[in-house]
Amino acid sequence: METDLNGAVSAPTPQTYDVVFTGSAREYFKIWIVNLFLTLVTFGIYGAWAKVRTRRYFYACTSVAGHPFDYLANPVNILKGHLIVGALFIIYMVTEQFKPEWAFALMIVFYLIFPFLAYNSLKFYTHNSAYRNIRFRFNGTLKQSYILFLLKSLLIPLTLGLYFPFWVFLRKKWFFENAGFGTTTNRFTGRAKQFYKAYFFASLQFLLLAVIPLGMIMGIFAATNLEFSRASLEQPEFLKVIFIFMAIGYATMVLGSVIPQQYLFSQITNHCWNTSNLGRVRVNSRLKTGRLVLIRLTNFLAIIFSLGLMIPWAKVRRTRYVLGCLTVEEVGGGLDEFTAEMARDVSAVGDTAVDFFDFDIGL
């Protein structure tokens, strides 16, 4: 509360901060090349350090109210995670090739351990993210992870996918309800209805932009093929026609999948942030589908035509847009008043399993 000159207590004025991203494609390009080089010459071992350096760079370039975020993970722990995941991957690849009848059993084993990995990686990820020297936290439990990923996911095929938007809602809810900063836990009031709405329109877009046009293209192709099949395969025109059809088909597929994807991303991200609040702090998100689609498509072209060299540019560009759509609103000194929880999770020591895994599992 602030006291004005007359001594009367005035309502605290909300203050808004932009989320500022200052990363540069040039700077990240250099970090990226050196990371790739060192990762390759060390046969992947440096990969863990590369990952931490990349994350640290993106975090350090993101600031709110003049203070940057920080990624605190110890690369040695990430290396352990990489080795375990790498071993699992090789076991799977070899089994699939030489003992295919065991591959199915292995899939079930992976399915059984996935909730464990997802839970640990979420904990690891949040615990190692910090702002103003206070770590983020994840309070969900391993049991909840098993209920969500193992049990409730079974309902998706049983309901022919109708349950899927609800399941995504539960997944987001699990994260947003249990995420915390210091001693403060986030509150989430998102609604499943919004997820159903988003998935309904995304499916409609997919139908109109991908399924129907592709069907039409295939129909036209089938019709022309009848005329062309009599003509000899030797004709370059014939090959040209095939090539044009393939190009149009591919472009339709890309466009028809990128638009619904980005629509879902913007709707769900906006909804989740806008219905959350962390103590006296709120994060607002105003992502626009059109802009995201434009960025995705131009990034895609840039990466293809630069043979991958513009990956850093594409990544920086998208991050800048997504973070630029976020604003942080605090009511009365909210940002200053967060306190760290000292009783638990002060450090990662003693909880090594938490430190093992770090995947991007798309939560």
Binding site: E27, G44, R56, I134, I311, D336
Partner: protein, 349 residues
């Protein structure tokens, strides 16, 4: 030496302007009016986060406190004086100059090409020859079932013709694998398959499958012998297994390289993988062709027979210009040119 910056006590999110003081390996943090926020302690109890671009520098204290500063020069002096983060400083040097980035880029290309051309094939070959035959048989089993149960219909070849080819096949196997105990259970099967056309396959176990169409297409027994030597070479050189292992290697390499940006597009991973794998496959075909030449020259047979059947086999496929880039087999003309080159070199040593 003093460095100005911001301080967080690790208990609340409040930021305080402070001065970080270092004297002979001992450090402290002084707040307003010189009140110590961190008492004098040894520098080696603190963690100095390595420099990364021009992002803010951070020192973390053992008590959970944190000091942040934008004074890059001051921090560099502190690190140099105390001799910490030397290897990370080297990495920072690499990252901060375009010349060294270029050197890394060239090194990256050289290493990647070397690994693809020599590293992965060498490792795969090493592993392939150490795999027990039982595993090869296992791997063949499924492919064999798909071939015989779904794709192939019973052969309509005259039994005498089939037996004649089988007799030649046994002869070839005996001569190629020698008197040594061969680990492979060589056998030759025939079948009728519209979908496959004139074709022959070798499974790692030693089973070779030839379609009736291929037999029908041949005009001379030499031609079939050529194809059989080619297929036997696939078995004895363990090409199928090496192919699997190399694909795995390529997948690991490509995901290592583009892994970070792979979410951008699956194409970024699949196209290079496809190109590299078809390149390996072409090398195996060339190696098998080479064995055919070796055998024919040794026997004093004319390599033209093998050339003829190759031509006839590939006549229907029609080479699309530039397509050899992604094809699993080398272009027919290239193959024939190679055959002649090797044959000439071997007959006139």
């Amino acid at each position: 030496m003093d460095i100005k910056g911001t301080f967080f006590d690790g208990k609340t999110a409040r930021a305080v302007d402070v001065v970080f003081r270092a004297e002979g390996g001992r450090v402290m943090v002084a707040g307003e009016d010189n009140i110590p926020l961190v008492h004098w302690c040894n520098l080696d109890t603190c963690t100095i986060a390595p420099r990364l671009g021009n992002t803010r520098r951070v020192i973390r204290f053992s008590g959970g406190q944190r000091f942040e500063t934008d004074d890059q020069a001051g921090m560099a002096d502190l690190e140099a004086g105390a001799g910490v983060n030397r290897s990370f400083f080297l990495i920072h040097l690499l990252e901060s100059h375009w010349k060294s980035v270029l050197v890394c880029f060239v090194g990256l290309l050289v290493f990647a090409v070397g690994f693809v051309r020599y590293g992965i094939p060498a490792i795969s070959t090493h592993i392939a020859y150490r795999l027990p035959q039982g595993i090869l048989d296992q791997a063949s089993q499924e492919a064999e079932e798909v071939l015989t149960k779904r794709l192939l219909k019973p052969s309509t070849l005259a039994p005498e013709r089939a037996e004649e080819i089988r007799a030649r096949f046994r002869e070839l196997v005996r001569e190629i694998t020698g008197d040594m105990e061969s680990p492979y259970a060589f056998s030759l099967a025939f079948g009728e398959a519209k979908a496959l056309g004139a074709n022959a396959f070798a499974l790692p176990s030693g089973t070779i499958v030839m379609t009736d169409q291929l037999v029908g297409m041949s005009e001379d027994i030499r031609e079939i012998q050529g194809v059989l030597v080619h297929e036997i070479a696939h078995v004895t050189h363990r090409h199928a297994v090496r192919n699997i292992l190399q694909s795995t290697g390529v997948f690991v390499l490509v995901s290592l390289l583009v892994g970070d940006g792979a979410s951008v597009t699956g194409l970024a991973v699949s196209i290079p993988t496809l190109l590299l794998e078809s390149g390996y496959s072409r090398r195996f075909e060339t190696e098998a062709d080479r064995r055919v030449v070796d055998y024919f020259v040794k026997k004093g047979w004319d390599i033209a027979a093998y050339e003829n059947i190759l031509r006839r086999l590939t006549a229907k496929e029609r080479d699309i210009p530039g397509s050899s880039f992604i094809s699993t087999h080398p272009g027919t003309e290239d193959r024939i040119e190679n055959l002649r080159k090797w044959a000439a070199r071997q007959s006139a040593p």
